[in-house]
Symmetry: C2
Subunit: 229 residues, 2 copies
DNA sequence: CCACCATGTGAACCGCGATTCACCATGAGC
DNA sequence: GCTCATGGTGAATCGCGGTTCACATGGTGG
């Protein structure tokens, strides 16, 4: 960035860029910085640079850094929820709306997307953030949970799952997936546990069991069939 | 300096034993501050006040704040592990070493202790901490996991659980318990879900299911003990 | 009795990163 | 053309909290 005094027009063509879009550029820049360096690396300076604006410009559009990130997190979390909801719909599509599958599908999508964008997932799940932003996180965790609670209740009503405290199971599921992901997702994860695919399928197994669903196919304990370790 | 509520921090014996080195007082003070205000509230100033020493004294005994907390976390986490191990031993004690119970017992203790000291649990589980301290946390998470992995493998070998990826199940269990606790444990939790006892028993159910253990009672488990809190 | 070391003191220092502010462009309306 | 209003700039400011340092103090050995 050349620091010519008074040369405001040179960094980015001003007219080409809609005035309203600086705000959007900041939002996009913030998201992109978080995706790359996590919330910890998302200083005001870094965001400004990424957006191609000056430090202070941020404050023309947002009351504070935290406010900016509240919007970013809302946006990103919203996408996650949408994707999870879409996955649930998808299940009914192929003609056989297995109620257990409707519980597992969004979890699978959640995990899959997290693995695809680990730094972002880390920021969304566990990274230290502003108190204000943290509330958004909590808010969305609740949303995830509520989504699952509904699906679990449906499955129980349909007789596909044993009666249970759906709220607790939902929380446990979110936690199980979250924890199993936090390892691989956090900085410098060892690939000790194997590929992402094996992680995903293993996770699906644990989740299925946690809901109390009978093992695939026969409703009997798989006794003595091959063991893997 | 008057930032701390005077009464609370005084729990630490101030001048009982001079010889009981200042170092120990600092460690105790640090732990006590974390227990009360979390790591976030554990500034050097707060700790010094709680220990009844000056700001700089801390640096006569520890290279940095982080080093102090490495020791504190090691200590606290060690207690947790000890308690969990003891719980496992306890199971064998009454003559009936149910392998599934040996998996659930430490989880139960973990949850129970967390609920008893929520702020501390929060700090241990999820609160943002120094990188150095974070490594200790990771180290102990792994310890928890390894403990469970061993017990799970035993149970599988004994035929009490279906074959499974023990490492993944262990991570999921820790995560499930953690998440289910983080809600109640984090600032301003609503008691919406009921009492701690119901939480604990529900948690036990989910965990049992997640391991793939057959539902309570029906099968061949030695006795029909009606309830066990 | 004095030098000395260990330990304690707390005000000053410092780096970091969010926030502010005095000052410019530019476009719209008069 | 002149004047606001809007949006942009980036160096200065500020608050926070960890760390340092010049200065006690008190017990010990020479």
């Amino acid at each position: 960035m050349s620091a010519l005094p008074g040369g405001a027009a040179e960094a980015v063509p001003l007219r080409a860029v809609d005035v309203a879009s600086t705000r959007d550029r900041l939002l996009a820049a913030a998201r992109s910085v978080v995706e790359e360096h996590g919330y910890g690396g998302a200083s005001v300076a870094a965001i400004s640079v990424a957006a191609g604006v000056a430090n202070g410009t941020l404050y023309r559009h947002f009351g504070s850094k935290a406010e900016l990130f509240v919007e970013v997190f809302r946006d990103v979390c919203g996408r996650e929820v949408d994707a999870m909801r879409a996955a649930v719909e998808q299940v009914g599509q192929d003609g056989r709306p297995d109620p257990v599958e409707r519980v597992l599908a969004p979890l699978d999508v959640f995990a899959r997307r997290a693995l695809q964008n680990r730094t972002l997932a880390w920021a969304l799940l566990a990274e230290p953030v502003d108190a204000l932003v943290d509330e958004v996180r909590l808010e969305y965790r609740r949303t995830y949970r509520d989504l699952l609670v509904g699906l679990l209740a449906d499955a129980v009503d349909a007789g596909a799952l044993p009666p249970q405290d759906a709220g607790l199971t939902a929380a446990a599921l979110v936690g199980a997936v979250g924890e199993a992901l936090v390892g691989p997702v956090s900085p410098r994860a060892e690939p000790a546990s194997g590929t992402d695919d094996s992680l995903l399928s293993g996770l699906r197994d644990v989740c299925r069991r946690a809901t109390g669903a009978p093992p695939r196919g026969p409703d009997r304990l798989p006794q003595g069939d091959g063991d893997r370790r």
